[in-house]
């Protein structure tokens, strides 16, 4: 049985490219363009990993969703990769060491995400 990954991003082109890469690597993929749909999917499907865009409809949506997942007993063990377009050189950089407490996710990845790197990261998190 293959792992199921939920990809959340408000850009349908990003969803499309992620879906292609993940399906090519034999993952099942669910996509959502907002956190309302993402939460519906989470409640309906057995999700093994979430790839989440940090900036969505409202700038706080990605954070809110991550917090909701991690504070829910049923979902808290699902690993989250937080994808962000915020450049490391700005003061808005995110770091797992510095920001892990208020953003309880397993991994930050900066956009654009190299598809090969994404697969390596996902494999690593799913093996844990």
């Amino acid at each position: 049985m293959s792992f199921k990954i939920l990809v959340v991003d408000d850009d349908i082109d990003v969803l499309e490219s992620r879906k292609i890469v993940l399906e090519h690597n034999n993952y099942d993929v669910e996509t959502a363009t907002n956190i309302v749909v993402a939460e519906e999917i989470l409640n309906k499907e057995k999700i093994d990993l979430i790839l989440l865009d940090v900036m969505m409809e409202k700038d706080s949506d990605g954070f809110v969703f991550a917090q909701n997942v991690k504070s829910n007993e049923k979902f808290k063990d699902i690993p989250i990769i937080l994808a962000t377009a915020v450049n490391q050189r700005t003061k808005f950089r995110f770091d797992i060491e510095e920001d892990g407490d208020f953003l309880p996710v397993e991994k930050f990845m900066e956009k654009p995400i190299d598809p090969d790197d994404l697969i390596v990261t996902i494999r690593g998190l799913l093996l844990k």
Partner: protein, 243 residues
């Protein structure tokens, strides 16, 4: 130009937002091309679809960069070339630019009166065209499918001004977002849902241009009903006449 060490917090925030808003679609372009480049898709039809999406995104980015360049140009007003312009010709030009987009969404453009005659203003052709292109494109983008845009103009004789009114039957602007409409980098909640890539510079640029032409711009909007934009521009006085 502002020296980096003299940048205010506002400047820094604006730059950071701009960098983010440019980087997000640029990253999407790279993502789309990467899946092709790295051999994740081989089907020609699918490749064409992905390249088409990347091209569209790149074109949006180009528009955003134009906004930034225009903003820079507007900051240095001495670079603006002013001339006598018939505002009705600009409106016609703008309508012909935007009409294909309206047609594409089944949106009807209705005129309350024909755009004939001569109403001269002193202005910059490129920037005034940008104003009406921007307002009309918003009226298309935020409209409902098969909606309507109603276009009108009149001469305000006491003020010696031309008043152009553009109304749409779109999603409208929530009341608590109204004060943000003309602010740089702001997008209303409803707008964010519909626009795919925007710096939020559009209407702040529009307002800046109108004010540089000694005009005024007003917005009246009801959520779910539509938005009306009213632009008032001073007319050139005719010799010994009223306009």
């Amino acid at each position: 130009m502002v020296e980096i060490n003299k940048m205010t917090n506002e400047d820094q925030k604006a730059l950071a937002i701009m960098a983010h808003d440019l980087k997000a679609p640029l990253s999407a372009v790279i993502d789309l091309l990467d899946v092709i480049n790295k051999g994740y898709v081989t089907d020609v039809v699918k490749i064409k679809d992905l390249v088409g999406r990347a091209t569209q995104k790149a074109e949006n980015l180009s528009v955003m960069l134009d906004d930034i360049l225009d903003y820079t140009l507007l900051a240095n007003k001495t670079l603006l070339k002013l001339e006598v312009l018939n505002i009705l010709e600009i409106l016609k030009e703008s309508l012909s630019t935007v009409r294909p987009y309206a047609d594409d969404r089944g949106i009807t453009v209705r005129f309350k009166r024909e755009l004939t005659g001569e109403l001269n203003v002193e202005g910059n052709y490129t920037f005034l065209l940008r104003v009406f292109n921007n307002i009309l494109m918003n009226a298309v983008k935020y409209n409902k499918e098969n909606g309507e845009i109603v276009f009108d103009f009149s001469e305000d004789t006491p003020k010696n001004a031309v008043v152009v009114t553009i109304s749409d039957t779109g999603i409208g602007i929530p009341e608590d977002d109204m004060d943000k409409v003309f602010r740089i980098f702001e997008r209303g909640k409803n707008a964010r849902r519909n626009i795919n890539g925007s710096l939020g510079l559009g209407l702040s640029l529009v307002k800046q241009i109108i004010e540089d032409h000694k005009g005024e711009i007003d917005v009246v909007s009801t959520v779910g009903v539509g938005t009306t934009i009213v632009v008032t521009l001073p007319l050139i006085k005719k010799e010994g006449g009223t306009k």
